[in-house]
Structure formats: structure tokens, C-alpha cells
Symmetry: C2
């Protein structure tokens, strides 16, 4: 018995040693290949790779794997957001479908604007109009049914100018960054101003981020029980707005620890970046600057969608990493 | 170049094959040992192990790892909850400390009852009184400071009858169950009626469950910025009550998919069990029945704390697994 145990122990140690060697060998191999091939060499790429190297290696800046929390905004950070948030295109298409079935709904100004494809009229209605549109088009069904509907739409709807599926407008350099972070023990989260269920419809297939690592704006839901079958129904009542100060609030609620790395692209991400920057130990704050009108869009301080103004000033003051799409990204959109 | 690549490919395949063999060998070893040694043989243990075997093996009941979501209530399910929820002991001790510094606070009936150790008077004040006590004792500080305070308390406060640290009143059979599930690719979550920050203070060290996999009742927080330093402050305003219908609502908000396995012990967990049971495919619903007055406590239909009545009826009707602590658990509390 004892000698059998000793034998097993010895065999176990050998096995561990061999497995360890194989891991080291594959790590050495991985270092040969550039983990961020779509990032041009330059200060942004350098800031990212040196930060990751510092926190994973033993030393004063080491961060335990459990604390390697990385948060990413979605619209304008992981995929494009012009001329309007893609979720607005979805809401507009849903509104058209609803009006086709029930023309009386066009009495609502926001629904009429959406059904007429009148983005000007819609944006003139302001936040209230958008809220009305989202409330109508995103409620009265289970989250599962909503997600199935969003997936059907994403499978065929195309961007008006770039003429691609919306999920093909995810950023290739960011897909590489997400993978690079995960390969280095980071847990990657989305913290989006967009609807949590809408983002969950594609986060796993597009980014490898499971639904439990998606935080977003949300509507309330109601629990229903019918003949023993339980389900939730999405209500036309706002639960959380995950934008600006709402981002750190929801990071604390959902994650319960401060991120060490945060990536955003607009003033809506500033509070999240400040919150990340204020933690103890090494931190990396990154802003994506949309300055490439040719390959994508160029916008910042005066944009209605994704305005980047106060956050750009603060990034410059505090030495946060600003990524120029034009200069830092060899390609913009995901490889098909 | 090509031949070097071929060589690396071949070496990689060999490495993968060796690593695979080692994994298989260690899996075979693990199967020899009972993963649930503190569970007596019987229908409950059998239901758990056969469910796990069915969902991880190829076949009609296979569940992909990403969907292996297991949710556990905390009070009465992962640790004891009598004579009152342990968080109430914490709130009482905090109230005493606050009154010692500011005697005027004793003007609040709930605070006076707490400071006098008068559980009768406190419970006579009902939910409103408890809410008042929690609001006072759990607000006005950052979540980090609150968690540090809860950890200091947990390090020394002892249970009045069982005379152990509260974290030593976690259930050994459940610690084994959590580990067994994780070893089989499940992601384990806590879904507690208790405060999310309070549970996060010990979930990782006691259960191996990181804060981002803890869902609970919560207060609202406010984002503050002072000289560039960002922080959150816990407010005396309720954000979410994670009990009864609130449990499936928060599971959807935080996790975004329906669990395949749910464990609870009271009517407060019934909606979570119904929600789990109503999903597609194989499911396991488990209720812990406290029937061991000698080793722990015996209570169910008439208990003020952790009442188990409607859920017990439904479990019997629907064939859910009911665990008898007396019969099914060889030991109750964690080994020290």
C-alpha cells in the first residue's frame, strides 16, 4: 500500500515535470509569434505588451491571476458605432416589423421616425424618444426570445455604408488584444452602454466573452410562473443605465473588484477609466481614438455619437494610452 | 522554413499527445477516490453523481462546459443560518460599535435593540427594523472598506451556541460538492439573499468562489471623484433584494443564462429552483433539509429563519432531490 502510494507519487511528480516542461516549451514558442500582429509597432502596442509582461512576471508589479480583470467598452471600442449605435439599427428594424403588424403604433413619434428611416427626426426626439423606441422594441418577451431575435437580425442586417454584417465590423486588433490578455490569465469583461441582452446575443461568438462577463444597460424583468413553468419577461422599464458613472457602479455590482486594465473610446468611459486608474498597483488605461475617415470614421470632440472630449484631455494629462486607429492598427476590421 | 514549421508541428502534436495522456491518467486516478467523501451513500449522493456523469459524458444529456452553470444559495445551503442569519450578528456588532461612538444613534429602535443584544425586540420590528439596521451599519463607506471590516469581524466573532468562527460553520459536504462540480467543468455561483459585499468578504477563501460569481442583495452606490481619485460609496438605499422572485431576476442579470443545477434550502430559493427546472435539457434541483438538531439545527415549515414549506411540497411533487443532513451528511461542518 505504502509502496504503491510512493510509486504513484513519483509517477505523479514525473508527470507534473513533463507537463511543466511542455508548458514552458509552448510558452517559448508563443513568444516567437507576435500575439498582436494587427497592431503596428509604436508606443500604444509597446504600452500594452510591456504592461502585460510586468503584471504576469514575478516582481513588484506582479498581479495575481484572480485580480487580472480587464474591462472593455463595446460600441466604438470593440466594434464600430457610426453613424449610430448598431443597436439603434436593430431597434429601427424591429419598429418597422411591429408597425407592419400594428399600424396604430406609428402614432408614437419615435416609432414613426424609425419606421420612416428618419434618423434626423429620431435624434431630434432626444433621449426620451430613443428610450420610447427601445422600450417598445425590447420588451414584452423573454430574454431568450429577445436574444434569438437579435441573433436572427445580426445574421443578415448590413451596415449602410461599410456594407458588412455588423459582427464583421468588430476590430481585428481588439480581438487579438482580448485573446492576448486571456492567454496571460486575464478575465475579460464587456462594460457597455448598450443593452446587456443585445450584447450577449453576440459576445461569445464574436469576442469569446461569455454572457456572465457582459455588463450593460438593462431593463427590469418580471418573474412569471405558468403551470409550473418559470420564465422572465423583459419590461419597458429601465433597470440600469451602464454609462458614465454607471459603469464603475455596475463594475462593482457585477465584478466586485477594481479592474487593472480598462479600454474605452468616449467620455462615457471616463468614469470607468478614472475608477480603474484609482486602484492600487499597476494599471493600464487605454482610449481608442477614431481618426481614420478612410478605413472607418474620424470623430472625437464634436461627435453626437461616441463623443471623445473630456476623456481625451484627461488621457493626455495623466499619460493614459491613446490608440490612433490610423497609426496603430495595421487592419481595422476582423478578418473574414 | 517549411521544414522547420513541419518539425515544430510534429513536435507540437507529440507534446499534445503526451499532455493528453497525462490528463487522462490523472483523470483515471481521480475516479478511484470518492470525490464526495462526506456524503453518505444514498439517493441524494446518487442523484448528484449520476447527474454530473450524464451531463459531462457524450450522449443525449451532454451539456457543453459553457452551459454548466451551478447556483447555490448561501445561508442554510453553504453555511448555517440559525439562530439568525450570520450577517445579522455582524450588523448587531457594528451597531454596538457605532452607538459606543455616538450614543444618540440608540434613538433608533432597531439600533437600540441591536446594542442591547435583544434579538426578540429586533425581530419584533420586522423587515423595516432590519432594513434600518442594515442601512445604518452597511453604508457611508467604500465597498472595499466594508469588506475589510467584515473580514476583521469574521476573523474573530464566534457563533453563540456552536462556538466556532462563522466561516468554520460552512458545510464540508458542500465544499466537496463545489469542488466536484468545478472539477467537472461547472462554473459555481452564489445567489444569496444576504448582502453581496458581505458574502464577497469570504466567498473566495471559504468556497473558492470569486467575487464576480457572487450575486446577492445590494445597496446602491454613488461614484465620487476627489482630486482625480475615484471611489464608490455604499448608500443606505436598497438596490436589489436577491430573494424569492429576485433570485431568477438577478441570475438573468448577472449570469445571462439559466443554470442547470440549483441548490437551496428554503422557500426563498423556490423561484430559483423553478426557474432552473424550467430550462431545456437535464437539470438537477436540490434542497437541503435541516433535520439534525444534534449536530446542527432542525427546522423547516415553522421556522422564522430559513422557512422550508412550499418548496418542500414542490420538491416532493416534482421529484427534486431533498438532502437530509441527518441521513446524507457524514460530517456537517468543514474540517479544521
Amino acid at each position: 500500500m505504502v509502496s504503491a502510494m510512493r510509486y504513484r507519487l513519483r509517477a505523479g511528480l514525473t508527470a507534473t515535470a513533463v507537463a511543466g516542461f511542455l508548458l514552458l516549451a509552448s510558452a517559448a514558442n508563443a513568444q516567437v509569434a507576435d500575439p498582436l500582429p494587427s497592431w503596428n509597432e509604436g508606443p500604444a502596442k509597446q504600452a500594452i505588451t510591456s504592461f502585460v509582461a510586468r503584471v504576469v512576471q514575478p516582481g513588484p508589479d506582479y498581479v495575481a491571476p484572480a485580480d487580472r480583470i480587464a474591462v472593455f467598452d463595446n460600441d466604438g471600442t470593440l466594434w464600430a458605432e457610426q453613424p449610430v449605435y448598431f443597436q439603434a439599427f436593430f431597434a429601427i428594424d424591429r419598429a418597422k416589423g411591429l408597425v407592419a403588424r400594428d399600424p396604430k403604433l406609428a402614432a408614437l413619434a419615435a416609432v414613426k421616425a424609425a419606421a420612416d428611416d428618419d434618423l434626423q427626426a429620431l435624434s431630434a426626439l432626444g433621449e426620451h424618444g430613443i428610450a420610447e423606441l427601445v422600450a417598445l422594441t425590447h420588451s414584452g418577451m423573454t430574454p431568450e426570445a429577445f436574444i434569438a431575435e437579435a441573433r436572427r437580425w445580426l445574421a443578415s442586417a448590413r451596415h449602410p455604408r461599410l456594407d458588412r454584417l455588423f459582427t464583421d465590423l468588430t476590430y481585428q486588433p481588439q480581438l487579438e488584444l482580448l485573446g492576448f490578455l486571456r492567454a496571460n490569465g486575464f478575465k475579460t469583461f464587456i462594460v457597455s452602454g448598450g443593452g446587456i441582452d443585445f450584447v450577449r446575443a453576440f459576445s461569445e461568438s464574436a469576442y469569446g466573452i461569455p454572457p456572465e462577463q457582459v455588463i450593460g444597460s438593462s431593463s427590469k424583468t418580471r418573474f412569471e410562473l405558468e403551470g409550473g413553468a418559470a420564465r422572465l419577461i423583459k419590461l419597458a422599464e429601465i433597470g440600469a443605465i451602464d454609462d458614465r458613472e454607471g459603469k464603475p457602479v455596475n463594475i462593482n455590482l457585477h465584478i466586485g473588484r477594481r479592474p487593472v486594465l480598462a479600454v474605452g473610446n468616449s467620455d462615457g468611459d471616463l468614469a470607468m477609466l478614472q475608477y480603474t486608474a484609482s486602484g492600487q498597483g499597476p494599471r493600464l488605461m487605454v482610449l481608442i481614438h477614431h481618426d481614420d475617415a478612410e478605413r472607418e470614421y474620424a470623430y472625437d470632440r464634436n461627435s453626437r455619437v461616441g463623443r471623445l472630449d473630456a476623456a481625451l484631455d484627461e488621457a493626455e494629462e495623466r499619460g493614459w494610452t491613446v490608440v490612433s486607429i490610423k497609426r496603430d492598427w495595421r487592419v481595422v476590421f476582423r478578418a473574414n
